[in-house]
């Protein structure tokens, strides 16, 4: 595995803007690529709107490959279930091994464990060590949704076959880290992110709060990192460094993307009809 890791997700397309009729719109139409973070982020925003009784429209990618990818990972189905207007139509399910995990909801600890086991089972055929890290990462981030967000979250995962990386994303449109950690001294989104990464929980019980820091450690064993975004702040955290980012538009809730290195090339998938998702040289390696 020699390719550099994929860059953190671009969340700029997840901005909600009202159209002329006042309906909020998430516009993915100009996305050059779609990754799990954008899919679960869109689903989380849709859930937030649905819970508030607000209308939302999601415009899918214009590019055929990205459109097919978003649909194949069931974003359209999730939006339909939430009564959110969208233009993603079902596609044939071709070989989906590198998709790893289509967009699934998580609300409970049982959901989180089931999703972690599913991702592990699908990844272990290629790399048992990476599968272990994926299990710990997916389940721990999904557990955070169940424990802290006050809402339903979404999980998705994808392999990047040509570069030997796998990534997962978990997002919720809940209260966000700043609200969660205000009682522990957080005054800004950035402070809240760093407190969470340092192991601070909204609970004072020292047995709480190990999730994010433990997940950074787990993905770090496989040269990976976590990208955590909440409000207007984002941090890319590896085992040895943190890199702060500022989002131009706030993400309403919390979004985490984890990246894990695989030992070698994953099983070669069957040929697809078109270049799907980020597979052309794994476009995210900019």
């Amino acid at each position: 595995m020699t390719a550099p890791p994929p860059n953190p997700p671009s969340l700029g397309h997840l901005v909600c803007r009202p159209d002329a009729t006042g309906v909020h719109v998430v516009d993915l139409s100009r996305c050059r690529w779609i990754d799990p973070a954008q899919l679960v982020g869109t689903a989380a925003i849709a859930r937030r709107h649905a819970a508030a009784g607000l209308a939302l429209r999601v415009l899918g990618p214009v590019r055929e490959a990205q459109r097919r990818y978003a649909t194949r990972l069931h974003l359209g189905q999730v939006l339909t279930a939430l009564d959110v207007e969208h233009d993603l139509v079902d596609v044939d399910e071709l070989d989906r091994r590198r998709d790893l995990l289509e967009v699934r909801h998580v609300a409970t600890e049982d959901d989180a464990r089931a999703l972690g086991e599913l991702v592990h089972a699908r990844a272990a055929r290629d790399d048992r060590g990476a599968a272990q890290a994926l299990f710990a990462g997916v389940v721990e981030m999904a557990l955070n949704v169940a424990d802290h967000s006050g809402t339903v979250g979404y999980v998705a995962a994808q392999t990047l076959p040509s570069s030997g990386w796998v990534r997962f994303a978990v997002a919720d449109g809940g209260v966000g880290l700043l609200d969660t950690l205000t009682g522990r001294g957080a005054r800004t989104h950035r402070q809240a992110l760093h407190l969470a990464l340092d192991g601070t929980s909204r609970f004072t019980d020292p047995s709480r709060g190990a999730g994010l820091s433990g997940t950074v450690r787990e993905v770090g064993r496989r040269r990976g990192f976590l990208y955590v975004a909440s409000g207007t702040a984002a941090v890319r955290a590896s085992a040895t460094a943190r890199d702060d980012r500022r989002l131009r538009a706030a993400f309403p809730g919390t979004l985490v993307e984890g990246v894990v290195g695989m030992r070698g090339p994953v099983s070669e998938p069957a040929p697809l009809r078109a270049t799907e998702g980020p597979s052309r040289g794994d476009r995210r390696r900019r």
Binding site: Q132, L143, P206, G214, R263
Partner: protein, 101 residues
């Protein structure tokens, strides 16, 4: 001595609670073996709750983690340190993690 045999995958606080609740015997003052021979992967929150229930709330005399992989050893070690009971956890026969990238 009490023994908790972990399944292949463990995650979450509720699962730790269920395994501790299923112990047949008094935890206070006991040595508890955490048998990880079948464990493939475990989450940090599970390890934290296991340490909390056995050592902090349960007042076990000692917890021995047997045949765990490096990631779970690290999770248990960190959990014990965070909760101030490092001296009450020991590791025996750790297993190597599958080859790294």
């Amino acid at each position: 001595m009490l023994t908790i045999e972990l399944p292949s995958m463990v995650a979450g606080r509720a699962m730790a609670d269920a395994l501790v609740d299923a112990l047949d015997g008094e935890i206070a003052g006991a040595q508890v073996d955490v048998d990880c021979r079948h464990l493939v992967s475990g989450s940090p929150s599970f390890a934290a709750q296991l340490v909390s229930r056995l050592l902090v709330d349960g007042h076990a005399a000692h917890v021995q983690v047997v045949a765990a992989t490096t990631p779970f050893v690290d999770a248990m070690t960190e959990a014990a340190a965070r909760q101030g009971v490092s001296g009450l956890v020991s590791i025996t026969r750790p297993q190597p993690v599958p080859a790294t990238v």
